[in-house]
Amino acid sequence: MGAELIPAVDPLPIPGPEWLFHLLLVFTFFLHALFMNLTLGGTLIAAFAQVVSGGKGDDYRAVLAGRLMAVNSIGISLTITTGIAPLLFVQVLYQQYFYTATILIAPVWMLFLLMLMVGYYAAYLYKFKGTPAKGSGGTGWLLVAAAMFFLIAMVHVAVHLIHSQPEKWTAIAANPWAILGDPSYWPRLFHFVLAGLGFSGLVVAWWAARQAGKGEAVELNTRIARYGWRWALWTTVIQVADGFLLLFVLPRSVLIGLMKGGAATMVPLTLAIVLALGLLMMLSRVTNPVEKMGAVTGTLGTMVLIIAIMSITRHQVRVLYLEPVSSGFELATAPQWGNFILFALLLVAALWVVYAMVKKVLTSPASGEDAA
């Protein structure tokens, strides 16, 4: 069921071996996930903190909200920029599934662009209007931004689940909202949202602990660090439970596929689970992050590692979902190695330019007459 509706694959070959595109898709998705976590989780935490601060600009939570959104005015841009690459590579590998999924919920998929624009501009309006020093005028904008990013997450989870389950296409075509009733929809959505909250909480704690360690506004930064840390701890507690729930609501074939996949699937999954439990222990053992900067950095590093590994597992789950309709099927390839090498070299050069530029900027302070 469903297979007869899968559009024919484009007759033109893909310009590289499949594994290369799988690799690029996973790697660029991981980069995207880092910034996306900060955008989604950071904005949600900021909105919550801003509201509970009661609009008092000197409340540490309002300061935290201002900080998070100052970072996010750049973070959102980088989320979009890093999101372009996985969007490109998914189209190379999964065009027939991906386009069909987006067409089936076309109005919502279009709306995602609008929500992104509204969310982004709302974040800027908050930054210009509502930073703590200037009062709480921006709370509304911050809530708008948070709502938009949450809705965007909902749209993406929907597209992902539709594209990976062609057997549900007929039902979705009749009623697109049916995807919200997919057993894995909500656990999956919250898996992403909780990751965003946990990661952003850790970033906040890490940054504030560092500032406090340098002796800057020690009391304020300590409070912010502890606040961020609590977000990371409690969302990770729920995350572990949600992760297991998500695992068990996966279709049986996918779950069995994961188990039977041998080292290729079991090593990443097991490693991620073990690391997540380790993360939980690390989080629960620290009460004042400022005093344990080493542990804080280690915890943040572990979190990044887990996100990287889960990016692999997420991709493997998609492959397993599609296994019944794609097994024994190979994409025609006609590698353009020269172009790939050009891309790789330019990527390295570009990262060097970015590094050199930022370094130059950081070491060229304005001074007197010379001030730019």
């Binding site: 007869e4 509706l5 899968i6 559009p7 024919a8 484009d10 007759p11 033109l12 070959p13 893909i14 310009p15 590289g16 690029l24 841009s77 980088l78 979009i80 920029t81 999101g83 690459a85 969007l87 490109l88 590579f89 189209q91 190379v92 065009q95 027939q96 991906f98 386009y99 069909t100 987006t102 067409i103 089936l104 076309a106 998929w109 279009m110 995602f112 662009l113 624009m117 982004y120 501009y121 800027y124 296409w169 075509a173 353009q336 172009n339 891309f343 330019l346 990527l347 570009a350 330019v353 970015v354 530029m357 930022v358 130059k360 900027v361 060229s364 302070p365 304005a366 010379d370 730019a372």
Partner: protein, 453 residues
């Protein structure tokens, strides 16, 4: 056509037009703005010119708010819309040019980071370092144009690619360099059209000087654009040029578009000379607005001409606007259109009108709506018997394509309906289509509206 069809009342083409036009205007401004701002700040630092520096600074806020946000999102928007209305075309392009897009993405990373750094570091770092960031931004932005221009121009003139399917044959296609020159001119026009606004905010003393300075940019932009445009026209294959050029152009509407864009650029030139170069003191919001509209008009006119002269193809001589490929025609005539249009086939549960409606949705609805843009109800002959003749003329038009040798261009001007793809499928499918279309023109419209399209 293998894909499900999104029933969009306004028509997919209109949506794409809206997203694409706003994106190209903003993205060309993002590139040109980079150039003009970098030069302006460099000159300001060299001459210690405070007003010039202010102009660059004020423009840079616009650059970041408009370009990095709206430009980036609307750019993704083009992919999103293309994936919804022409998934077959975007996937064909991606299979050819994924590395080009990946490379463009690399430049885009540098562009975005440089824009963010540039805006955030005004007055915070040394002037030299700040100017350097501006140049990094512009170079990265321009290189992204160098890349994307290969893909956009390929769609109109794929050239040797049609026979070789080789990346570089399609990339450096016959209109690549003319388009690049034209777009280089356009980026200057867009940058100046936007930057006149922050310049208006300068003090009364400095304003005329800044206007005149921008006037020279606009003047140069007009010259480069015009040269690029003429070169582009000359580089087009004769079969395309004949559509809108010569004593009796095949498509009057396209010839009108060409006249429009030439008048628009003339207007830009005249207004530049008057408002910016000769009488800059008197220039206020209304002249600035008129100048901006004329520049947009030229650019939009060119884009429309380019898109229009590509019809009925999405990738010229390779894929039609409804996703049917030239190399598929013979097979589809034999095995039936619904043999590949899977979603339509699944819905074609009965012969006759029901099947005809699905053929229409999968083969015609990428351009024609029921009651909106290019509404089929307005275009069909009033006499149902005439529909048969229209359908079969379009059906026979397929033979003009099947007779071609691989890579040989079709003489569009010689076709009865040069704008339209041929109808493909079996005779039964054509009969069904005629039956369905007839229900759209019979007086009792309830038959036609049943279930919409």
């Amino acid at each position: 056509m293998d894909y499900p069809i999104w029933d969009l009342a306004m028509g997919g083409g209109v949506l794409m037009g809206l997203v694409a036009v706003t994106h190209v205007i903003v993205s060309h401004f993002a590139i040109g703005g980079g150039l003009v701002i970098a030069v302006t700040e460099t000159l300001a630092v060299k001459k210690n010119d405070r007003e010039m520096r202010e102009l660059a600074k004020r423009s840079s806020l616009m650059l970041i708010l408009v370009s990095t946000i709206f430009g980036a999102i609307s750019g993704v928007g083009i992919w999103v819309v293309a994936g919804l209305i022409s998934p077959f075309a975007i996937s064909a392009l991606i299979r050819n040019y994924v590395w080009a897009w990946a490379i463009e993405w690399v430049f885009f990373i540098v562009e975005v980071v440089a824009a963010l750094v540039y805006y955030a570091t005004w007055d915070k770092i040394s002037k030299q370092a700040h100017v350097m960031v501006a140049w990094v931004y512009f170079i990265a932005a321009y290189l992204s144009l160098v890349v994307i221009n290969g893909i956009v121009s390929f769609m109109l003139t794929p050239g040797e690619w049609l026979t070789t399917h080789a990346f570089w044959d399609g990339f450096f296609n016959p209109t690549y360099f003319p388009s690049l020159v034209l777009r280089t001119g356009i980026v200057m026009l867009m940058a100046t059209a936007f930057m006149v606004w922050p310049a208006l905010k300068a003090g009364a003393e400095a304003r005329p000087r800044l206007m005149r300075y921008l006037g020279w940019w606009m003047f140069a932009g007009v010259l480069v654009s015009y040269a690029g445009y003429r070169w582009w026209e000359a580089a087009l294959p004769e079969t395309i040029r004949a559509l809108f050029l010569g004593d009796s152009p095949a498509l009057a509407a396209l010839a009108d578009t060409r006249h429009f864009l030439l008048w628009a650029i003339t207007l830009v030139l005249v207004m530049t000379v008057i408002f910016l170069l000769v009488k800059p003191k008197a220039t206020r919001a209304i002249p600035a607005l008129l100048l901006m509209l004329a520049a947009f008009g030229f650019f939009a006119g060119y884009e429309r001409l380019r898109e229009g002269s590509r019809k009925p193809f999405l990738i010229h001589d390779y894929m039609f606007s409804n996703g049917v490929r030239v190399d598929q025609i013979a097979k589809l005539r034999e095995e039936g259109f619904l043999s590949t249009a899977r979603w339509a086939a699944a819905a074609a549960t009965e012969p006759g009108v029901v099947t005809g409606r699905q053929v229409f949705r999968a083969q015609c609805a990428s351009c024609h709506t029921l009651g909106g843009y290019l509404a089929i109800t307005d275009l069909l002959p009033a006499d149902p018997d005439m529909i048969y003749s229209v359908v079969y003329t379009l059906y026979d038009q397929a033979e003009a394509y099947t007779a071609l040798a691989p890579g040989e261009p079709v003489d569009k001007a010689a076709l009865d309906y040069p704008f339209m793809p041929p109808l493909v499928g079996t005779e039964e499918e054509m009969e069904a289509l005629v039956e369905y279309l007839a229900t759209l023109v019979v007086p009792d419209e309830t038959v036609a509206r049943k279930g919409g399209i």
